[in-house]
Each structure stands twice: as C-alpha cells, then as structure tokens.
Amino acid sequence: MALASTKFKDLDFFNQSLESGYKLLPFNFIKLDDSRYVITNIAGEYLVITKEDLYAVANKQLCPGSPVYNTLKSKHFIYDDDSSVALELLALKYRTKMAPLANFTGLHLFVTTLRCDHSCPYCQVSRQSEDKAAFDMTPEIADKAIDFTFQSPSNEIKIEFQGGESLLNFEMVKYVVEEATKRNQTENRDLQFVIATNLSPLTDGMLDFCLKYDILISTSLDGPEELHNGNRPRPGKDSYEKVMTGMQKVRELLGPDKLGALMTTTKDSLTQAKPIIDEYVEQGFSSIFLRPLSPYGFAIKTKSFDAYQTEEWLKFYKEGLDYIIELNKQGLYFIEDYTALILNKMLTPFGTTYVDLQSPSGMAISAIVFNYDGDIYASDESRMLAEMGEKRFRLGNLLQDTYEGVMLSDALLGPLEATITESMPMCNDCGFQNYCGSDPVYHYATQGDIIGNKAFSGFCKKNMTIMRHLIKLLEDDPEARDVLLSWVRV
C-alpha cells in the first residue's frame, strides 16, 4: 500500500490545487470555422475548442475539474499547482522539435550540367546545347564542392545530382561519387547519393555504377502519357516512353526501393488529379507529392496571377487528397507526401528537414546548391531565380569563397534571421506557426521582399488552407482520420 500512496495523492491535495486557480501556458490560436478555434501550445500540440471555451480559458472562467479543463491541462495549455512538471515536459518537446537545426546542412545538390535533352516550359535553368565546356561542372569545381560538403557538421550527408539532365555529364557524377566515397573513408559520415534524372540518357553501364555505390534514382513523372509528354517536350516526343523504360530498368537492376518520382503541376495538370494519381499507382509507387506550381516567371510580373494559381492548385490538391484517402479506404496504402509532412509536424514532437516548413527557413542550413560554374545558392529555387537575372540568393562561389565566408555571410544570415516565423508579422501569433515555415525566395519573387505581407501571400494561403482542411478531416471524419494517422511516422 505504501507504493499506492506515492502513486496517488489524497483528495485534499487536488482540492488545494483547484482552489489556487490555474495559470496559462503560452499558446497561439486560429479560427477553424464559424464556431471552432484551433489552439496550439509552444510544442505544437493542438486542440480544437469552441470560441466560448477559448475566451473562457483566457479569462480564467474555466471550471476546475471539468472535461475541457482537464484536457487543456493534460495538453499543456494551462497548469496549476498539481502540474509542476508541465514546464519541463514542454521544454523537452520543444527541444525535440528544434533538434534538426543542430544537425545543420544535410542535403547538397551538385548541378553537374545545365544541358538537357528536354525543353520543359516550367524549367528556368536547362540549356539546349552541345557545348559541354560552357555548362558542365569541372573537376576543379567538384573538388571544391566536396570539400565544402564535408565541412558540414551533419552526420547525414546526402549528395544529390541535379541538372539540366545530370546524366548528360555522367563522368562528373562518377567523379564526385568516387571522390566523396574515398573522402568518407576517413570522415565516416552516413553518406548517400541520389541522381535526379529524366532517365532518357540512362545506360546499363550507369546502372552498374549505381548498383556498386547504392545510388538512389529520383525521376520526373508528371502523369499519364499525354500530360507527361505535353509538360516535358523532347525531340521525338517520347519522354514518357523513355521514363517508363528507364524506370523498369532501375527496378530490375537496383530494386524497386531505389526509385522515386516527383511530379510538377502545370496548368494542364490542374484538371487531372485522379489520372495523375492513377498513373503513380499503376507504376507501383506508394506515394505522390502533389507539388504546387512554382511562381517563377509569371508571378514576378503579376501578383494576381500568383493568387489565382493558389486557388486553382488548392482545388487540385483537395480533389487529389480526397481520392487518395478513398484509395486507402479501399485497402491501398498510398501517401500524399506534403500532407504526411504536415501531419508529422502536427502529431509528433519531431521537426522536419523540409526546407519550406522550417523556422528559420532551411535555405543553406538544410540544403545547399553548388551550380555547375561554382556559384553557391541557398536553394534550388534561388538558382532558378538567378537564371532569371535575380541573384539575391547567390551566396558566393566555390573558387573564391570559404565555407565560413559563405555560411556567415550577410547574404545568408540576413534571410535566415528574417525567416524566423516566431518573429514574422502575421506568423508570430498564428495558430499554425508551429507547423508552417517561410519561403523567402517565393516571397521575394512574388512581392520583392523576403518576408512579404502574408495577407497577399500564396504560400500562406496554401498552407493555412491545407492545415485547416487536415484538422477538419482529423476532427470530423473518423474514416479519413484513420487513414491520415496511418501516414504519421513515429
């Protein structure tokens, strides 16, 4: 019985706690619909409560011991004399959420060439050129990029080859993989390679090399044949055929788990959510990333275009997500990746390394880009913006600048400081601040300002709409909730 008495305090103890009242813990809130609010604590745990309860809790009118009181207390929105460990638990959860920051840069993108056999209208960077000298990475630049990469303190180093079409300079891919692997014999990092490729130049020799070094392949698949070929023109109009042949070879020689695919949403995609998802299912993928339209190009010229695009994309996303949830209900385990990223932020204490959903932004501190010419960019989008003449996010050049010079430059530290959502106007007290992030390149491209006015921001509108939608599904649709919870990894 002595054990029981230490586990359970007597009734007087609790009565004393109730009499002394409760105190608030830090929390934000946001309207969910006409009658409900989402409240989120400092660690990102959320509750949905009525407006009346929200005002009651803040005005200290909650009845101690009532169900809403107990729920708020157990979720760390309020505390009383009986819950002194609340602060330590919150601190622990907050620290867990922030932990990825300490890991620093993990993803390093090597642009081996800008040359490409495709001429996709949404790509700002590729060149239709046979001139290797003009647009290919040289060994000298690659050596500098490898040096730079291993100066990252991260234990997990991922090198991803990008283009143009990265395999058009396969010699450079080989060089970097061999040199980095050699270097890693003394560094002992968790080193991983990914080749982003449209698969058209793929040969058996390349696949043998990939097998030897356990290289992952990430390809582009925009949807069914007609849509894919329309989005991704190449001589012969056979991009889809090439990617199908390539995917089959990759799966046969490297294994199905070594292949991933990404889609880009174009204007033509917006009415084809189901066919695009069906294509991914048919090709054996277990997930799809319904990526939003990039603002580069049109949006720089007109803000209204950006807002219009966001509305259309959200309709596309919701239609796609509804369909994917239906597929899951029928027994097919299939994930929408962006949704899964957000759900993991909402429902677990773990942070993310997804650049756009971090505070501060993950530019350079999560992912960094080494261009073919040695220029260093804060993100792939920064590189695209630079190709359109705006080099605001160029951090330096591998041949001229040191690691310390780049990582401590005003060009990087300025945007990083400005993208801390805890201090951004309209983000700092937003109920979704814990789940969101900031995209300085997007806001610079659309508003000419790295922070941007969120009232006009397509990025803000997109994320707020998705987060409201997901919480409504979690709260109001038990079947959808079961599906969404199965996507959360703990």
Partner: protein, 112 residues
Amino acid sequence: MTKESTTPLVKNDDGSLIILFPKSVYSLDAVKKASYKFTDSCSFLINEQNTAYEVLCKPTADIPSKALDELVNSFCNEVLDQDLRERIASETHAVRSLILAQAFSKTSLLEG
C-alpha cells in the same frame, strides 16, 4: 485633433468606413495587427482620438453591401482575437522564457 466621432460605425458615401474602437477596451497594437491582416482587401488609416482609435477603412475594390458587412464583422472579431492574443502573450511571457531557457539549456544548440 479633429472633432471626435461618437458613432462606432459610419459608412461613407465613397464606400469607405469609419470604425471606432474604445481605448478603454482595445489596445492600439490589436487594432494595428488586425488591420494589417486585412490589407489584402482594404487600406487603413488609424487615428488616435481622446477616447477611441478611429479606423478609416477603404476597400481596395468594389464590394457588395452584404460582403462589406461580413468584412466589417470579421475585422471587428479579428481585433477582439488580437486583443486576446496580446493578453495571453503578456501573461505567459515569463513562463515562455523559462520554457525556452530550459529547452536550450541541455542541448548542443547553444554550444560554441
């Protein structure tokens, strides 16, 4: 200072609105933050009177009367919400600092 208005909501002929927020009830920050949030639909001019903040709100596009009423309702509710946020932030400021200090005190995030 111009003559003080007393009517809480005035609709002007040019489509603009004047809304009064009593200083004894609302803070200037709450009024400003709510206004900022609505800058996609209106432009704002905030004046300080003796007993109230006077918000001149000009819709940036023609808005039907019913939608304008809804906009005003949303704006007024947003001022209330901002006021509540301010109170929560003020009351929890010390404990927030304590939690953050505790969170970072046992992690390598602060190590040089």
